[in-house]
């Protein structure tokens, strides 16, 4: 227990208060939830990550628990184009099971797909992956974290042999002499993190921010590099070029702890600063100052986030910064390293336990025979019957309802109608499905399209674990039971599995060599039981949770994976002695700049980029319903430079239209001298006419499947 706050391990145990964590981003700020006369109260809690801080989203998180828009009964649509009407759970679940059976009988198992979310607890993410592979036996499962962490994950895996967002505790940031943030805006996306940056600055450390906009974070920087969107990779290569020419490369480290440097050295030889200045617009002097600050610091940290990663070359861009970090000898050195800032609440854990198309629990590859055997053993099925890898999120959504694509989709914890790239196209794919099922606690824009909507519990009504941006496994604790009519996601999966197995003999696993699955054994509804199974399934994998128990988390400030033994240590800091690669060395990867998938031209002469505002979260379906947050950030906007506005004849506040080849968004112009005059920005939290993702490009990274959210070509028109 922490801070002397009593904890509830059973939902609705009647505790007046519980120690838990915020439902929103990956910082997972510690908070106390308490019943009070006025309702449910949120209090910030001291913890090494948020240090007692909360942003407005956290403070107001409990307002959705008893919100009038809360769903408390399943909804059904009787015919396409008809209205959603209330229904009983039995009717809704029967309808789903029947729909799945019909679709699979007609089109095969892969005709049913599952789409998860990076906000689901580890237990739910694990159960969802298992449900897809064992109950539905479809290869098609992926999740919205594909649009968040996949580029950094792929780059981390190929260089370090492991993907943990931060391979060190967050507090290490406070001790870095130089901190380079690339495409990260924590002052708005995870404000309490700035407390660590304030520490860093107080100690005399330098903060350098790379962002095409003068963001709230960039305003606090000692140096702000403002590159053209899509040129971060070249900037990183130029920084390494300078580090080489100035003798700041840690040759000893490179020789002892890495492989492949020579190819990278020869590649970055072609990225001399003047050429990259011309490409990116970042002055040579600033490139040099940045390289110097990193190369001559006693300790330095390089962090990337979505600004660098959400590109069709996101993996290579992250690799370019990893190369820089490795060449400077940072990873594994105390107070130094490379990391990425995870976005969603369980963006880390959500990608480790089987929601990803190509993965099994414990961050195992689904095409690895040994991994299949291990996990199939835990699941009590024949390894040969586990499906193979599916396809990445966008490819999956794009194929929905097409001749070869899935005809039914089950969505948990995601709202792709707002969050997917080229969203109007994705919306049309969803409309072409035979069956769309959405489990949510509010009628999100995606739920509004569904044939069946299932009302599920909120964070304060369930127990479980979350893995934060540091790879620290945390406990989420229930304050109360879900309202009448509402079930947990685990209960939904169990009930569906029961129906699928009982009602359709052809889907019994009786022909397999493993034991017959029963819902109680295969899909428990108690999250602690699920976690115990997750521990066994992850044992021996890269993300090894075998030694993590709920009690152990309760007794400490979380547990860092990998943690293979209950009695052994956990792993706050990785790479001190070696990297989890076959030869124990980190691997350099030579990467070269390539242009964005879509270039500006006479018809679409401006670069468009997207991002967040402080008072809204993700697709906004939750935060747009909180009055205080709506007051703080009521509407979408289009940020543009006054010179550009002047040229377009647009005044501040005037409605403008941003048009790309894929669609348009309409919102008020917000003039800001802090953005490049050749670039416009819009936040992506709003649906309908203001939906930024109507405009974004669905080109994806060839390695990670990450869409190119952060750059496309547009024109701006007055409305």
């Amino acid at each position: 227990m922490t801070d002397g706050v009593r904890t509830a391990t059973q939902p609705g145990a009647g505790s007046p208060e519980v120690a838990t964590h915020c439902p929103y981003c990956a910082l997972q700020c510690a908070m106390t939830l308490r019943h009070s006369a006025a309702g449910i109260e949120v209090l910030p809690r001291q913890f090494p990550t948020n240090r007692g801080g909360l942003c407005q989203k956290g403070w107001t998180a409990a307002e959705l628990l008893d919100h009038p828009d809360r769903l408390t009964t399943p909804l059904l649509r009787d015919r396409p184009g008809g209205e959603l009407r209330p229904a009983s759970w039995d009717e809704a679940l029967d309808r789903i099971a029947a729909g799945i059976r019909t679709v699979q009988a007609g089109h095969g198992r892969d005709a049913v797909a599952v789409f998860g979310g990076g906000g689901l607890t580890n237990e739910k993410a694990y159960a969802l992956g298992k449900f897809a592979r064992v109950a539905l036996r479809t290869r098609h499962i992926d999740y919205n974290g594909r649009w968040c962490m996949s580029s950094a994950a792929a780059a981390g895996l190929r260089s370090f042999g492991v993907d943990r967002g931060l391979p060190f505790p967050l507090a290490d940031l406070g001790r870095a002499d130089t901190l380079l943030l690339v495409g990260a805006n924590p002052a708005e996306t995870m404000p309490p993190l700035m407390r660590h940056l304030a520490d860093q600055r107080r100690r005399g450390g330098r903060l350098i921010v790379v962002d095409p906009r003068l963001t709230a974070t960039a305003r606090q920087a000692d140096l702000h590099l403002q590159p053209l969107p899509g040129t971060d990779l070249a900037v990183a290569n130029a920084l390494l070029h300078i580090a080489l020419t100035e003798g700041w490369v840690d040759r000893e480290y490179v020789a002892a702890r890495t492989t492949g440097f020579d190819d990278v050295r020869r590649t970055v030889a072609g990225y001399w600063p003047a050429e990259v200045e011309r490409l990116s617009g970042v002055p040579v002097a600033d490139l040099e100052a940045t390289a110097r600050a990193l190369g001559t610091a006693g300790s330095a940290v390089i962090l990337t986030a979505r600004g660098a990663e959400q590109h069709a070359k996101g993996v290579d861009t992250v690799s370019a910064f990893v190369n820089l970090a490795l060449a400077l000898g940072l990873p594994g050195r105390p107070g130094s390293g490379y990391g990425c800032l995870t976005g969603q609440g369980n963006g880390q854990g959500g990608r480790e336990h089987g929601q990803k198309a190509d993965q099994l629990p414990g961050y195992r590859r689904i095409d690895d025979p040994a991994a299949r055997t291990h996990v199939a053993g835990v699941w009590g099925v024949d390894p040969d019957e586990l499906p193979g890898p599916g396809v990445p999120a966008y490819q999956l959504l794009e194929s929905l309802g097409t001749a070869d694509g899935p005809k039914a989709l089950l969505v948990f914890g995601s709202n792709p109608v707002v969050s997917a790239p080229r969203a109007a196209h994705v919306e049309s794919r969803l409309r072409d499905l035979d069956l769309l099922v959405v489990a949510d606690f509010l009628l999100s824009e995606t739920a509004a399209l569904a044939d069946v909507v299932l009302p599920v519990a909120q964070w304060a009504e369930e127990d479980g674990t979350m893995t934060n941006l540091e790879g620290r496994v945390l406990r989420r604790r229930a304050l109360r039971e879900p309202p009448p009519g509402v079930r947990t996601d685990l209960a939904v999966l169990a009930a569906l599995a029961h129906r699928l197995q009982a009602g359709a003999p052809s889907y019994r696993l009786s022909h397999s060599r493993g034991p017959l699955l029963t819902p109680a054994a295969g899909f428990p509804t108690d999250p602690r039981e699920v976690f115990e199974e997750l521990r066994r399934a992850s044992a021996g994998g890269p993300a090894d949770y075998a030694g993590v128990t709920w009690d152990r988390i309760d007794g400490a400030e979380g547990v860092f994976w990998p943690c293979p033994d209950v009695d052994g240590p956990d792993s706050p800091r990785l790479f001190a002695d070696s990297f989890p690669t076959p030869d124990g060395r980190a691997r350099f990867h030579p990467v070269t700049h390539r242009p964005a998938a879509e270039q500006v031209c006479a018809d679409y002469p401006l670069h468009f980029t997207t991002g967040r505002v402080l008072a809204q979260y993700q697709s906004g379906s939750q935060t747009r319903r909180v009055a205080a947050l709506r007051r703080a950030a009521p509407d979408a906007f289009v940020e543009l430079h006054p010179d550009l506005a002047d040229r377009l004849g647009v005044a501040d506040g005037e409605q403008v239209r941003v048009v790309s080849r894929r669609g348009e968004l309409c919102a008020a112009a917000r003039l800001s001298p802090g953005i490049r005059p050749d670039t416009v920005f819009a936040p992506f939290h709003w649906p309908g006419a203001a939906r930024a993702n109507s405009v974004t490009n669905d080109a994806v990274d060839p390695v990670s499947g990450m869409p190119e959210f952060k750059i496309c070509a547009v024109r701006v028109e007055k409305r």
């Binding site: 909360l54 403070w59 304030a198 020419t245 001399w272 011309r278 010179d643």
Partner: protein, 494 residues
Amino acid sequence: MTERIVIVGYGMAGCRLAAELHARPGDRKVTVLGAEPHRAYNRIMLSTLLAGKITEPDVELAEVAGHGVDVRTGVPVTGIDRTARELHTGTGELIGYDHLVLATGSRAVVPPLPGLDPLPERVVPFRTLDDCRRILAAARGARSALVLGGGLLGLEAARGLAARGLDVTVVHPTGWLMERQLDPAAGAVLAGTLAGLGVRTELAVPAAGVVADTDGVRLDLADGRRLDADLLVLSCGVRPDTALAAAAGLTVERGVLVDDRMRTGDRRISAIGDCAQHDGTLTGLVAPAWAQARVVADVLTGGDPLARYRPRPVVTRLKAAGIDLAAMGDAAGEPVPADGPVEELTFADPARGTYARLRIRDQRLTGAILLGDNPTVGTVVQLFDRGARVPADRRSLLLGRAVGTVPASPAASPALMPDAATVCQCNDVSKGALVACWRSGARTVDELSTATRAGTGCGGCRDALAGIADWLAEADPVATGADRPAAAEPVPAR
């Protein structure tokens, strides 16, 4: 049959073409023949090598070998038989081709001065890696060096040698340095900057002759003066290496003539890089050579048969420790009067080595010289490159990012802040809300924070909160007078 592509020359252009071909799908055999014995290197880094900051392996370029690409160094080509489509090599081989690409580069010009034929040991041009090795060998134990030629390359060499601790003098025949890129004022500021770095300049004086022996070298100037040093570096321009092309009967002016697809008059032969002359222009720079390599690769592999080379405007960038110079377009000369009104922006602070001159016509930059600490250089280069419109506020082109940006810090005096001003971004708390909170009894930063949640997010506004609390403590008794409830008596702010 597999197409045979032979590239003559393994410098930056030839090496890049091999890589471009390698990266494209298709079945072909690429042979690269380099006359120099070593692998391709980055010429741009030679002055850094000269300065002693890096070693030879650091200037190597990424090399493609294996799988359809055969790189052969130390193989000079002595002739082209266009009828037989064969190359003759200095090693007596015959190598057949289906398509030939000349990337023979250029050679340093040795001026026709008495005493330079043959070239004495202590006199070295600055062009190749071998030149660099010879300069470094001669510089060992040397205390002074002369550089003949105050163009870009000469100044980089001078800076590199000065960084090694040598006493360096640049001799330049024209009245100011880099006269093709700079105006006289910029040249003067640059000379001042160089002086501060230990590089002297002798301007407006041609050289008359060289006398060298094993102990040193003497440069005789046209005005009768004599300069002595341990080493003389020649940087008097380059000349495209076109001998092979000319001997084969291809059309050669200053360089080998090529069309937009980099083809010579023989449709089976292309030329790229320093040896090629496109649209009357020799480039002598790496970026255009690489763009040309891309065009040839696109055309030869059928990836984009319509690919055309479109030259980008030249931006000259001198970047050596302590010097930051960018020059582009027509800023060095007088504006052409015919073409409508011209705006000129200038800024000069010679004492601090800063100079800027920008020329604007029809809302577009037509030229710029930026020397010293100019924060806008990245913006200016991109505006020039794309022919984009310049900002309405021209000052921002000189002063950069500071212009028009609002400082993040709260207003100096809370009294001047409007009530609606946001003090705490994380929790959206306005000054008005804090004042209201004070009026209902909160008296300390912690009390204000607890009541409004201000300062509970990133914590960055705690100082601003303290400022407002102090201000209220002073202002409030006057503002609200005696009708304030007793419970709200001011207490000192923490």
